[in-house]
């Protein structure tokens, strides 16, 4: 390799105690050399030095066909990450580093801010624990700010209920498990921690309106929480509504309007209609016929359900397996009409999937990924046709989040 001006100036640089100044000097040197070379260079390819931006940015708001892949990074949980993929082109657009035992990002409805509940230790996996909600600029992916919250964030297999924004985007809710259970409330307007709401025996946060959400309790009852302008809470616990016995519902429900659709281990759908201060269970229905259940068909996976609210469609990852396989991925996605509970479509996936998600637009994309893999598959959600695959997306991808 020929020796050129740059390395020379580099060698000069190895005088001690001149680091800051020297860095500056080196930059100048580089630019100077670029200029010196620009003459002959102009005739051919121009120098990149000093030309144009050195860091890429993203349009705001995001395309409805972008998806954030959240990564728990099981073998190295201190280094959680999230990856942004364009479902239309398959292009990888950007990365966020999100700390220990990461669950998932939350996207503001105006598309300008990304909220990320994160946990850090002063010495990686030991030392002082600090939990924060980091605010990222959606256009630059730079840190906009940080809100310190109680160091109680639940560390669990990530589910969307780990954190939520109220429908008006005013309050950010974070589920705590120490193992004492509570919900941390953050005010996105003042960007301050507001309070911790005790939710004894009840888990996760499921929004129900501009200022309300509920948690689900171990006995199947529901804790309805209503927040005022200052984030003060009125809580009310219902009678047991959801099955928690032989065939309990999973903690992976999906929402359409005021209805949250829970699914049981054996594949029965329980629609829970929730308002600020009341909750009622709708008619339950099965994802499978008796014959299909006999054949072992059941839902599975981590992010096992997805909904297309416009078309009132429910998508579920299905596989054949015994009871203890309720977390297993599947190679099938079955699609249901929410009004009739009838299966209207069956999509054979390219490979096993543990998480699926839909884009929220009128021409929806279906995303599928396997936590034991890292290839993101993009399907036309209506035709079920595989559009493209994006390789090498993360280490143990968990939840898919779309604008």
């Amino acid at each position: 390799m020929r020796i050129l001006p740059l390395p020379t100036s580099t060698v000069n640089a190895y005088r001690p105690f001149r680091r800051e100044r020297w860095t500056a000097i080196a930059c100048v040197a580089a630019v100077a050399m670029a200029a010196a070379l620009a003459g002959p260079a102009r005739a051919t390819l121009p120098s990149d030095i000093g030309r144009g931006p050195t860091v890429a940015t993203l349009p705001v708001p995001a395309s409805k066909h972008w998806v954030w892949v959240n990564d728990f990074v099981f073998p190295h949980m201190a280094d959680g990450m999230a990856y942004l993929i364009d479902g239309d082109s398959g292009r990888y657009l950007g990365t966020l580093s999100t700390g220990y035992g990461f669950a998932h990002l939350l996207l503001s409805r105006d598309g300008k801010i990304i909220y990320s509940p994160e946990t850090y230790f002063s010495r990686g996996t030991r030392g002082k624990r600090t939990d924060v909600v980091t605010l990222y600029d959606a256009g630059t992916l730079n840190v906009l700010g940080e809100i310190v919250i109680p160091p109680k964030r639940s560390s669990n297999m990530p589910v969307m209920g780990n954190a939520a924004l109220t429908d008006d985007d005013r309050f950010l809710l974070v589920y705590n498990f120490t193992p004492t259970q509570s919900i941390t409330v953050v005010d996105t307007k003042t960007r301050k921690f507001v309070r911790e709401i005790p939710t004894p025996g009840c888990a996760f946060a499921y929004p129900t309106g501009p200022r309300s959400f509920f948690s689900v309790c171990g006995d199947g009852s529901v804790l309805l929480v209503d927040l005022d302008d200052r984030g003060a809470a009125r809580a009310k616990r219902t009678q047991p509504l959801l099955p928690m016995g032989a065939d309990p519902v999973t903690e992976k429900p999906v929402r359409v309007g005021n209805t949250w659709y829970f699914v049981s281990l054996d594949g029965r759908i329980y629609p829970l209609e929730c308002g600020r201060d009341q909750a009622a269970l709708g008619r339950a229905w099965w994802l499978t016929s008796a014959a299909q259940r006999q054949a072992g068909w059941r839902p599975g996976g981590l992010q096992q359900l997805a909904v297309d609210a416009r078309r009132s469609r429910l998508y579920a990852i299905m596989h054949r397996g015994a009871l203890a396989t309720h977390k297993d991925p599947g190679k099938d996605v079955w699609v249901y009409d929410l009004a009739s509970g009838r299966r209207v479509q069956r999509i054979a996936l390219r490979r096993l999937a543990s998480s699926i998600q839909l884009s929220s637009d009128a021409r929806p994309l279906l995303y599928a990924i396997f936590i034991g893999g890292s290839d993101l598959d993009v399907y036309d959600a209506i035709s079920g046709k595989l559009l493209r695959s994006v390789a090498h997306v993360g280490t143990t991808p968990t939840l898919l989040v779309t604008p």
Binding site: V249, G301, A322, H326
Partner: protein
């Protein structure tokens, strides 16, 4: 875990590292269970089949094997592969005081035992001998019966970082 050995030819190492502390094997495990599912059906027969399987399994008494009888409801890296044992944490880690439990059948004496799967905490993931068996696992709405929580949570000396899981006998079921 048998399927791990089989899978090993491709990327067991990657798998071992990629394997989740908490039921990622709900994912990976299916590579085995997906196949095993058919003979196990109808679902109702699953239980007996499993128990028979356990008794006849050559590794039923090997603490470093996923098939070890105490591991019927474990979910994580087996501490016996990480410098600890079925009842001890590896050096420099901290045992979580509370956790989830299972009831496992010991083919050796034909008795059922209550097994407590205390997590060992304070270092990064051990990454060896991942084992996930979801028998009796409930959704996280019932923490005491769920293997999807990191039970290092609330451990004052090592709050959260999960390293591996033990399988300690709490007592015999009368």
């Amino acid at each position: 875990m048998k399927w791990l050995d089989a899978f090993a030819e491709n990327s067991a190492r990657a798998l071992a590292r990629r394997s989740s502390r908490r039921s990622v094997l709900g994912g990976l495990g299916s590579l085995l269970l997906g196949a095993a599912a058919v003979p196990l059906l109808p679902v109702a027969r699953g239980a007996e089949v499993k128990r028979a399987g356990a008794a006849s399994n050559p590794h039923w008494n090997d603490p470093s094997s996923c098939d070890y009888w105490r591991h019927c409801a474990i979910d994580g890296y087996i501490c016996s592969c990480c410098g600890g044992s079925q009842s001890m944490c590896p050096p420099g880690t901290d045992m979580s005081p509370v956790t989830w439990i299972g009831t496992c059948h010991n083919p050796g004496d034909g008795k059922d035992y209550v097994v407590s799967y205390n997590d060992c905490c304070g270092k990064s993931s051990c990454g060896r001998c991942f084992c996930n068996r979801n028998e009796g696992d409930s959704p996280m709405f019932q923490p005491g019966h769920s293997n999807d929580y990191n039970w290092c949570s609330g451990n004052s000396k090592a709050n959260i970082p999960y390293h591996c899981s033990t399988a300690r006998i709490v007592g015999v079921v009368g």
